[in-house]
């Protein structure tokens, strides 16, 4: 079955196209995921700091 994937003399052009497409598609998934993680971490830290400051001002 996989012999047909050799693509003869065009192998380089075909597989570079598919490979690049894969890289770009995967990158577009990773970028928002990592942005979301960073954002949640930043917001969480800010919230904890605010709570702590509130508690200190009450005490």
């Amino acid at each position: 079955m996989f012999e047909s994937l050799q693509m003869g003399k065009y192998a380089f052009y075909i597989w570079t196209s598919y490979g690049l497409t894969l890289v770009v598609l995967v990158a577009n998934i990773i970028i928002p995921l990592s942005q979301e993680r960073t954002l949640l971490r930043t917001l969480g830290r800010k919230l904890r700091r605010k709570r702590r400051d509130n508690n200190e001002s009450k005490a």
Binding site: L5, G8, Y13, N28, I29, P32, G44
Partner: protein, 245 residues
């Protein structure tokens, strides 16, 4: 309908609904793409003129279609944001730009990789290729405006105007192969008469096109969700969400 639209355009509702939708889009995208790749790489026969090289079409053509489709989505969303000041429309426009730029980049690069063995050159300054390159610059302009202007509402207005002006480029890309003599082959699917492409090649092509659409739905919602969270960071529901984590 209007009540639903109003509810959907509330950032909070959008955040939770899109969170539920993303896995459905993602998994159906993967399924359709695998079937499309199977038919494209194993089942479809070699082309009688181009041999195996035409298989680049299964990523090149859907990517080029997406580059124009996403541009229209971005321009319409930008226009809605300009007219009705709907925050979610601005977010959708801003989130679409990098994805559209990615597909435009892919269309250009896979086109070059197809052009080299078929035309003997990576690049020619012909109408379609040049118009597609301008599309990439339009996307980059929108991205640059969005990131250069600190105030997000102002940024959305500026990039919305640019996106709307750039719409003129879309019919130029589409009709370039008819209006000018070009090296690029003419349309073989989007014609009024029957498509001049064999069914064994048309099926994987359309499957890949559907897969790319689903992919766009997945990643644009992911980006938009992140953007909603960022812009609504001081609202009570985001605060609740953060403290629950």
């Amino acid at each position: 309908m209007w009540a639903f639209l109003h509810k959907f355009s509330s950032p909070k509702y959008f955040y939770f609904l899109s969170g539920r939708l993303i896995p459905w889009f993602a998994w159906s995208c993967l399924a359709v793409m695998l079937v499309g790749l199977y038919y494209g790489l194993f089942e479809a026969p070699p082309d009688y003129q181009q041999g195996e090289s035409y298989r680049i079409m299964f990523v090149h053509v859907p990517a080029a279609w997406m580059s124009m489709f996403i541009y229209m989505v971005m321009a319409v969303a930008g226009g809605i944001g300009l007219i009705w000041h709907i925050k979610l429309a601005e977010i959708m426009a801003a989130s679409s730009a990098p994805i559209g730029a990615s597909f435009t980049f892919l269309a250009l690069v896979t086109g070059a990789l197809w052009g080299k063995p078929m035309w003997g050159t990576w690049w020619v300054w012909d109408a379609r290729l040049t118009a597609e390159l301008i599309l990439l610059f339009l996307y980059l302009g929108v991205i640059a405006l969005n990131s250069a202007i600190e105030d997000k509402r102002t940024a959305a207005r500026a990039s919305g105007v640019l996106a709307l002006v750039g719409v003129v480029n879309i019919p130029i890309i589409h009709y370039s192969v008819e209006w000018w003599n070009t090296l690029h082959q003419g349309a073989s699917v989007t014609k009024l008469d029957a498509p001049s492409i064999h069914i064994s090649m048309l099926i994987p092509l359309l499957l890949m096109a559907v897969a790319f659409k689903l992919y766009y739905a997945t990643v644009v919602l992911m980006r938009a969700r992140c953007e909603v969270l960022d812009r609504e960071r001081n609202s009570s529901w985001v605060q609740d969400l953060i403290s629950a984590k």
